[in-house]
């Protein structure tokens, strides 16, 4: 029964998205292309979900698949060389970066070719593997990725209508989206580090080209930045391979073998973790993610919030058992906690909704990084749940901001004042997304609770950083929520409705956000605990009963609108307080010149207390210092 899942099924998950990818290049933009995208997304999502459910309902522990031979490895090496050659050529045309980017790419290619061709490391006998954690990333990629791709079809149509002058590259856009989904499936299922590196660099490539998609000055500059930093991440990855080939540690390319080798494999695990930090946009590598916000919003939702950056924390969570209790692991945790604190503070300074979401993504990935670095049953539990909750809620928020941007013509948070009143559907979706990010009973809060408890026990310094970082997150989310909930006595004009595919995708993600919140004890019992029981035998499953009170309260809260809608208060309706100078039925006031003035409300940015530039410098220098320390602590361990 165990072996009924053949490697062909697993490999087909990686190959499957390539079909719609190539069809996208052929289909005519518009209806035909969207049909390809929709069916491809549906197929991939269902397939990923099916394999994931299969994995979670069977016994935990990695299923290793012995496939391929030298021919396949050589073929993949050739592909990898092609990807690197493309990146190399592109990096030469960069304007602002130094020579180190092409040099690093060349060095990476050299290391990879030598490692694979010289036989310094034996080829991975089982390059594919499936376990509970891998299935988690696979399902997140398939379900969230599929929904975002489906949404993107309609979004890119609108984008084309808004800018009729721009050349139409929708086919290439969706080719890259599906290529990216394939690469993500590859990362989730790879057991061979050589295979994983190919998929890793493919996500770098897709991200680089998608950030550049609009082709304007800002897009080109930011895609260059993303490429430069992600090449650095790839170099860390290659350094790990080099250490495995030359160092005293285990000679193996297989992840699960390294995990079994324990402390002997720590240096490789730390180097791979540093590669993960870059992909997860942790300090000091965070700047590319902010820049990536110039890309079309579905790209931000898919790559830069819900999936690609998750590949970074995925590798950290994967190697977490090795980090546990080591100095390097503690340093990784501090990098994560430091990212959480600084990104949360800097999010307060932003008024652009997408940039707020980007900072918040860095912050939440920092939380997961901290969990992975500290390790242990409780921290990993929180880290894995955070990965799920963040993917659905942040995906939803990005999509809703994208739709709002197209309706409002702005993506400033202040422009979203009273959005719930102006378009109930879209407003509700944003509200659900925000609630999912910071309030009970949604998972982020649940996970944060466990993170703090786990850190209090093992890493007080990390706990302190988290205590300081959690207050600013409360601040900027509440402000945003408050802006959405403003009710004007005389409503502003409504907004045009959103296209159906966008509504469907957002509704599905909202449903998933709520469902994840309600079913997290099940997720914990089926997905997370079995995985952890294997890693930490003997440590008891988490007691979730204390949360019962919170859930009861929240359900009561959600039930209250029913009461309020069936029992109209019959109260006198009064105009908002304007200190006696109201005008236009409370829509404005009479100013000092005795003229009516429309009321405009704005959020606080705390410019006078949060020095963004100084914090940015800190982020770079302290971050760089911590990364260096972690690398040294790891390699010298």
């Amino acid at each position: 029964l165990e072996r009924r899942l053949s490697w062909q099924i697993l490999a087909s998950l990686i190959v499957l998205p390539l079909i719609p990818a190539f069809l996208s290049l052929l289909a005519r933009p518009g209806r035909a292309l969207n049909a390809v995208v929709g069916s491809g997304a549906l197929l991939f999502g269902v397939a990923a979900l099916a394999v994931g459910l299969w994995a979670w309902t069977s016994a935990p522990g990695p299923l290793l698949f012995r496939v391929g031979g030298h021919a396949l490895d050589l073929g993949l090496l050739g592909l990898e060389m092609l990807v690197l050659a493309f990146l190399f050529a592109r990096s030469l045309s960069m304007r602002s970066r130094g020579a180190w980017v092409p040099l690093l790419i060349a060095a990476q290619a050299g290391v990879l070719a030598w490692v694979e061709l010289s036989g310094a490391l034996p080829r991975a006998a089982a390059p594919l593997a499936l376990d509970h954690l891998g299935a988690l990333l696979l399902v997140v990629t398939g379900v969230v990725g599929g929904l975002v791709a489906y949404y993107a079809g309609s979004y890119m149509d609108e984008e084309q209508q808004h800018h009729p002058g721009r050349p139409d590259h929708r086919g290439r856009f969706f080719f890259l989206i599906f290529l990216f989904l394939s690469a993500m499936a590859g990362i989730a299922l790879s057991n061979s580090l050589a295979w994983m590196l190919l998929f890793w660099e493919l996500t770098t490539l897709c991200s680089y080209l998608l950030i550049r998609h609009r082709g304007d000055e800002a897009s080109i500059r930011n895609s260059d930045l993303a490429l430069a930093l992600n090449v650095l991440g790839g170099a860390f990855f290659a350094a790990a391979l080099l250490w495995l080939a030359l160092g005293p540690g285990p000679r193996s390319l297989e992840i699960h073998t390294l995990l079994q080798a324990g402390q002997a494999a720590l240096p490789a695990a730390v180097l791979l973790g540093l590669a993960g930090l870059v992909k997860a946009a942790q300090l000091p590598f965070h700047r590319w993610l902010l820049g990536a916000m110039v890309a079309p919003t579905p790209v931000s939702a898919l790559l830069h919030a819900s999936t690609m950056v998750k590949a970074g924390v995925f590798i950290l969570l994967r190697f977490s058992p090795l980090y546990q209790g080591s100095l390097a692991g503690d340093l990784l945790a501090i990098i994560g906690a430091f990212s959480f604190l600084l990104a949360s503070l800097l999010a307060v300074r932003e008024s652009d909704a997408k940039r707020v979401l980007a900072w918040s993504t860095i912050a939440n990935l920092g939380l997961i990084t901290a969990c992975a670095g500290v390790g242990g049953h409780d921290a990993l539990w929180a880290g894995m749940l955070l990965l799920i909750f963040h993917a659905v809620a942040k995906g939803l928020l990005f999509l809703a901001v994208g739709t709002a941007e197209h309706r409002l013509g702005a993506r400033d948070i202040d422009a979203m004042q009273g959005l719930l009143q102006r378009q109930r559907g879209l407003g509700s979706l944003l509200v659900i997304g925000i609630l999912g990010m910071f309030l009970a009973p949604f998972g982020m809060l649940t996970a944060k609770w466990k993170v703090l408890e786990a850190m209090a026990e093992n890493a007080p310094l990390v706990a302190i950083l988290l205590a300081f970082g959690s207050a600013p997150t409360l601040f900027f989310w509440s402000q945003w929520l408050g802006a959405l909930l403003v009710i004007r006595p005389r409503p502003e004009p409504g907004l045009p409705p959103s296209p159906r595919p966008q509504r469907v995708a957002m509704f599905a993600l909202a449903l998933l956000t709520v469902a994840a919140a309600l079913s997290f004890p099940l997720i914990s019992a089926w997905v997370v605990e079995p995985h952890l029981a294997l890693l930490f035998p003997g440590s008891p499953a988490l007691d979730l009963w204390p949360l019962a009170v919170v859930i009861v309260l929240a359900v009561a809260m959600l039930g209250l609108p029913l009461y309020f809608s069936t029992h109209p208060s019959g109260a006198l309706r009064q105009a908002p307080y304007m200190a006696g100078a109201g005008a236009d039925d409370g829509a404005g006031f009479v100013n000092a010149l005795h003229q009516p003035q429309a009321l405009r409300l704005q959020n606080y940015r705390l410019e006078s207390v949060i020095p963004a530039e100084a914090l940015g410098r800190w982020a770079l220098w302290v971050g760089a210092g911590l990364v260096l320390a972690a690398a040294l602590a790891g390699v010298l361990a």
Binding site: A471, G482, L553, R573
Partner: protein, 287 residues
């Protein structure tokens, strides 16, 4: 069964204690200002009067948010007094505060909006120290459960002197006392006398007041945890003295600006809360 009874007892008795506390507070304040002060039960009379006022509202949602505020605040207290998890208590309490802020936001009045922003600033100021208090109590007693902390071997205050001072500092913010009464004040000495609640008439204000009674009892309960293992004859008078200290501070200081409040609270959290947390192992060995 006992936790359930304790929670029920809190839900019924907390308003009584909260009301008496508010009455005593007003009398003590008055005496500090050389006034006679209102009768002890004045807060209760005020609440009744507010409740009997003609119902009015700025929108249909404000009542909902305020009911949520009351629900979560009372829920946090019930969780606390039934011996629950301290971090969860803080999270639920925070949830209640967010509901109060949403009630103010929804009104679209610039004054209420300003009050809401300032309330959020106050939360930004006190939240780190509040979490550090919970973390400190955990470090001192090895448990986040109130039920365990109460029965600890020694009083947490012995290893948490800094944390206690830090908590007293933010307690001033939480109790809406000067110099930190940014978002709404009982005194007429600031420009936004009732910023946060300016749009909340009659019954809504009564809900807010009731919520604060629950909240204040919970906050004093949290303060009591520092001395909980000591006998009642020692810990309760101490609690009363510390509360009087808060009233004294309230009456002898002028309101600060929000930047000052924020900086001061974070410095206190860093210098007292975080430092004490890291020093707990040494203090434990020493005491």
């Amino acid at each position: 069964m006992t936790p359930l009874l304790a929670a029920l007892a809190f839900l019924i008795l907390a308003p009584v204690f909260g009301c008496l506390l508010a009455g005593l507070d007003r009398i003590a304040s008055a005496r500090m200002q050389r006034r006679q002060g209102p009768p002890l039960l004045q807060p209760w009379f005020d609440l009744r009067k507010l409740w009997d006022k003609q119902a009015a509202e700025v929108n249909a949602f404000q009542g909902y948010y305020l009911t949520g505020f009351l629900l979560f605040t009372a829920g946090a207290g019930a969780l606390f007094f039934s011996g629950g998890d301290l971090l969860l208590v803080i999270f639920v309490l925070t949830l209640g505060s967010v509901m109060l802020v949403m009630a103010a936001y929804s009104g679209a009045s610039p004054f209420a909006n300003l009050g809401a922003h300032r309330e959020l600033l106050q939360m930004l100021a006190y939240e780190p120290m509040l979490l550090l208090t919970a973390l400190g109590l955990f470090k001192a007693t090895d448990s986040f459960a109130v039920a365990d902390i109460v029965w600890a071997q020694q009083a947490p205050v012995l290893v948490l002197p800094g944390t206690l001072l830090g908590y007293l500092f933010i307690l001033t913010i939480k109790l809406r006392k000067s110099p930190f009464d940014l978002s709404s004040s009982h005194h007429a000495h600031q420009e936004l006398v009732r910023g946060l609640t300016v749009d909340m008439p009659g019954r809504h204000l009564a809900l807010v007041e009731l919520g604060h009674w629950y909240e204040n009892v919970l906050l004093l309960g949290l303060l009591w945890l520092f001395f909980a293992p000591w006998p009642a004859w020692a810990s309760l008078p101490l609690l009363g003295m510390l509360y009087l200290l808060e009233v004294l501070v309230d009456n002898s200081t002028a309101r600060l600006r929000w930047e000052q409040t924020l900086r001061a609270a974070w410095l206190v959290a860093l210098g007292l809360g975080a430092a004490n947390l890291l020093l707990v192992p040494f203090l434990q060995r020493w005491s």
